[in-house]
């Protein structure tokens, strides 16, 4: 298979930007990524987004490409709920690896701040089963809460241990200038924060954010020619599980996390112990903990306990979520997977402007639904 490199990254700040439009955020990220690549011109613009339908806008590839002076290029949107960004990078990878394109831009963007919280909560539930789950009024937080209670009971994990995750995230995100929530918190803050969907508390939950991120992907030939710091996509894999939670085999593990990671590691000829830095998808503390185990960084049932014991912070291998993760960097839904790739690429290049890890091998994992669509990407300097 032809090699594919990331040669440009660009991000907008993550936050709530009432005065900015979706196309405006996308342009900021795309222009930064093009500039970072040494001014390569994308032949394809692959857009990832989940909920622009709430603003009555589809057809985003055309909208964004033309807004950015790329009329006549090719493109389309890729959607996999909150996992849209990772899936779009996989599509970009395949466009370059197949030879269909030499230069591909993947642009993740989400803009929800014009909608109310119940509207956005209902929109996020479109990742669940509209026929068999939505009629029960279950929110996305609620679905993850079912997993969290089950996991904590099965492995006898204490509330204090679960709380170590968000504390570490905010410690990291405090130094990330792009992050949505830049403040330090304590275990006590987490335990005393309001209950959203028992046992999930406010400080177990990521904020829903606006934001855009973009990467420029290219072939080996152009990567070497135009760029001093190309980062190889060494492995990539995606896996699906049921949309509904009722028919899952296990509640304390994400089958799609395991399968997508195995596929990515196999392609990269690497294993979890080779990873120096990873960005995992912690929409809720429980997602971070479960996927830490499913990717292979912690034994089953030990994820939260190991974080509480001080593992996975700067100096350890791997370092998890030096960006602050979804919890602190924020969760611009359809853009999150692209943010993760930008962040890990910058870590491997050494120019991430927050907590710096360095290293040779990085990993990102982006989740759609309650583990129903997951993409894992392995990056190598």
């Amino acid at each position: 298979m032809s090699k594919v490199y990331v040669v440009g990254v660009g991000m907008s700040n993550v936050g709530r930007f009432y005065e900015r439009s979706l196309r405006d955020l996308a342009a900021e990220a795309l222009f930064k990524a093009i500039d970072d690549s040494g001014n390569l011109t994308p032949e394809y613009v692959v857009v990832s987004n989940m909920l622009s339908s709430q603003a009555e806008q589809e057809n985003l590839a055309s909208l964004i490409a033309d807004y950015c002076g790329l009329r006549g290029s090719s493109g389309f949107k890729v959607e996999a709920a909150c996992g849209s960004g990772g899936a779009a990078v996989l599509v970009g990878y395949s466009l370059v690896a197949s030879g269909l394109a030499k230069v591909v831009a993947v642009v993740g963007v989400e803009k929800l701040s014009e909608r109310t919280t119940p509207e956005v909560a209902r929109g996020l539930a479109y990742a669940a089963d509209a026929d068999f789950e939505l009629p029960y009024g279950i929110s996305f937080s609620g679905l993850n809460a079912l997993v969290m209670r089950y996991y904590m009971m099965k492995y006898n994990v204490k509330r204090e241990e679960m709380s170590a995750w968000p504390v570490l995230m905010h410690e990291n995100g405090y130094y990330n200038p792009y992050a949505h929530l830049r403040m330090r918190i304590t275990v006590d803050d987490v335990i005393k924060s309001p209950v959203i969907a028992d046992p999930i508390r406010l400080l177990d939950s990521c904020p829903i954010s606006d934001g855009a991120a973009a990467v420029i992907l290219t072939s080996e030939e152009l990567a070497r020619k135009y760029n001093d710091t190309p980062v190889l996509i060494a492995g990539i894999g995606n896996a699906l599980d049921s949309t509904d939670i009722s028919s899952r085999y296990e509640l304390d593990t994400f089958l799609a996390s395991k399968l997508s990671a195995e596929r990515a590691f196999k392609l990269a000829k690497l294993s979890p112990k080779d990873v120096d830095v990873a960005e995992l998808h912690d929409a809720y503390s429980i997602n971070g903990v479960v996927t830490l185990e499913d990717v292979g960084f912690a034994p089953k049932g030990m994820g939260a306990k190991l974080v509480a014991e001080g593992r996975f912070r700067i100096g350890d291998k791997p370092v998890i979520n030096p960006s602050g993760g979804l919890k602190s960097r924020g969760h611009p839904v359809g853009a999150t997977g692209v943010y993760q790739v930008c962040e890990v690429v910058m870590q491997l290049r050494g120019d991430f402007p927050g907590v710096k890890v360095g290293g040779e091998v990085g990993l990102t994992q982006n989740i759609g639904g309650v583990g129903s669509n997951i993409t894992t990407i392995i990056l190598r300097r």
Binding site: A121, A145, S246, R248
Partner: protein, 126 residues
């Protein structure tokens, strides 16, 4: 929604005639062995709470029903995502025995009021 009335009101799942696996919601093929040789089966009307949550921050349309108690109930036949009713949030526990009852859901965004199966605590002496 009316299309789903029978399925939602009778708790119909699917049984794989190849490997015997039973699952809900119904599917056209078995997740375990991919066989399309499946048939609809009734999941039964009582079961036990495997895990649950109390949703304090409702999605659009469910504001007036908040807080919602949502549970995953194992009916023996299969697991079902459902709402619990006739019970207070702090009375629910994992392992609680519950039985099916028909209730109304929230009005859908297009104005339809679906009736669905919820579960209530099992009445032991009645």
């Amino acid at each position: 929604m009316w299309r789903l009335k029978d399925i939602l009101l009778n708790l119909v799942g699917t049984k794989c005639l190849n490997c015997g696996h039973v699952f809900y919601p119904p599917k056209a093929a078995c997740p375990k062995c991919s066989s399309r040789n499946v048939k609809k089966v009734s999941l039964g009307t009582s079961g036990k709470v495997i895990t649950y949550t109390v949703v304090n921050v409702p999605i659009e349309g469910f504001e007036s029903m908040s807080p919602l108690i949502i549970a995953l109930v194992d009916t023996g036949g299969g697991k079902v995502l459902t709402q619990l009713t006739n019970v207070k949030p702090d009375e629910v526990y994992v392992g609680m025995e519950v039985e099916a009852t028909v209730r109304r859901s929230a009005t859908t965004l297009d104005g339809y009021v679906p009736y669905i199966i919820k579960f209530k605590p099992k009445e032991r002496y009645s």
